[in-house]
Symmetry: C2
Subunit: 187 residues, 2 copies
């Protein structure tokens, strides 16, 4: 018998991504977001939802571009900082000592030290309420060489990304390999 | 120095959710999806992207409703099955032995044995390419009593959800607690 918690934003597990933008003066900024995920295979698109009150929101509206930098567990404190303060008040790259790297395919910076950078151009904007959802077409995925599997694709066990739980507001690491999609269903 | 992999759908980490629907005849069906995530806090909304070719797609278009059932690690094989076959060909609930439970707030079933069920009504539909993105307003979240934290909110460490890596097509468990949002950034 399940207990009803009411209409609350408690879906899980969620990713922890850092969204990179240039502001209208060309200064790099970034913020942490977890209301985000993949949303199309062809063309490859992901979506990120951001409140209109944030500095990043206005930057994306102006540039129509952003990056997703995927942090590793080791970057958890810096990632938390990117979510805790506003780019209006602080130069977050300078404060954390992390490096803004100019993306090649879109007008936005990514975090050089994080293992994965995804360059996106905005193709769809939906005003959903408190959050605006930006759908970004993935123009390139850049990864550290050490994060590739033997088959040459991105291996989550090498990336060691951070996972978010919205109710408890906690960050978590990745656990054990459970199996391969399409190969577990035999009963 | 990062290596470019080109424009590919490789963002991670991703959730593993089972999307529940009634078909036009009232038969319960469900499919596994990972192109999904939270997308708004007020009203609370999540989004799920589904290919038009799937049986579930037509069911959501007709009913304007779906559920998200969040499986635990222990349900990995059944969850993989829900993603491997079509509801056109099989009664997936009957085949897995799992129980379709009628949602209270929307016209859709959820998986009774999974620890978390989220009832959604469709409020926005975006045709993005191969995938259609459905934004669902969360009408209720139902959870097993054993998944609540001391503060009474949903605790990911009790849910033990499954995490997906698209490149390697692998399922993973949850790892260790890294810290609390807003409490790690002090430097």
């Amino acid at each position: 018998m399940k207990k009803s918690l009411g209409p609350k934003p408690l879906a899980l597990p969620l990713p922890v991504w850092v969204i990179g933008v240039y502001d209208p003066s060309g200064r790099p900024n970034a913020m942490t977001a977890s209301w985000a995920g993949m949303c199309c295979s062809k063309p490859p698109c992901l979506s990120v939802s951001i409140r209109a009150a944030t500095y990043t929101h206005g930057c994306i509206m102006a540039s129509k571009a952003f990056t997703v930098s995927v942090p590793s567990e080791a970057h958890a404190a810096q990632t938390d900082y990117f979510g805790a303060v506003s780019g209006r008040d602080k130069d977050k790259f300078a404060e954390t000592g992390l490096t803004p790297v100019r993306a090649e395919r879109v007008n936005a910076p990514y975090v050089g030290e994080f293992p994965v950078a995804i360059e996106c151009r905005v193709v769809h904007v939906a005003e959903l309420g408190l959050h605006t959802q930006f759908v970004g077409e993935i123009m390139d995925v850049k990864v550290e060489a050490g994060t590739l599997s033997e088959a040459g694709t991105l291996d989550i066990q090498a990336v060691r990304p951070i996972i978010y739980c919205p109710g408890t507001r906690t960050y978590h690491g990745l656990g054990v390999l459970l199996g391969r999609a399409g190969a577990m269903a035999a009963r």
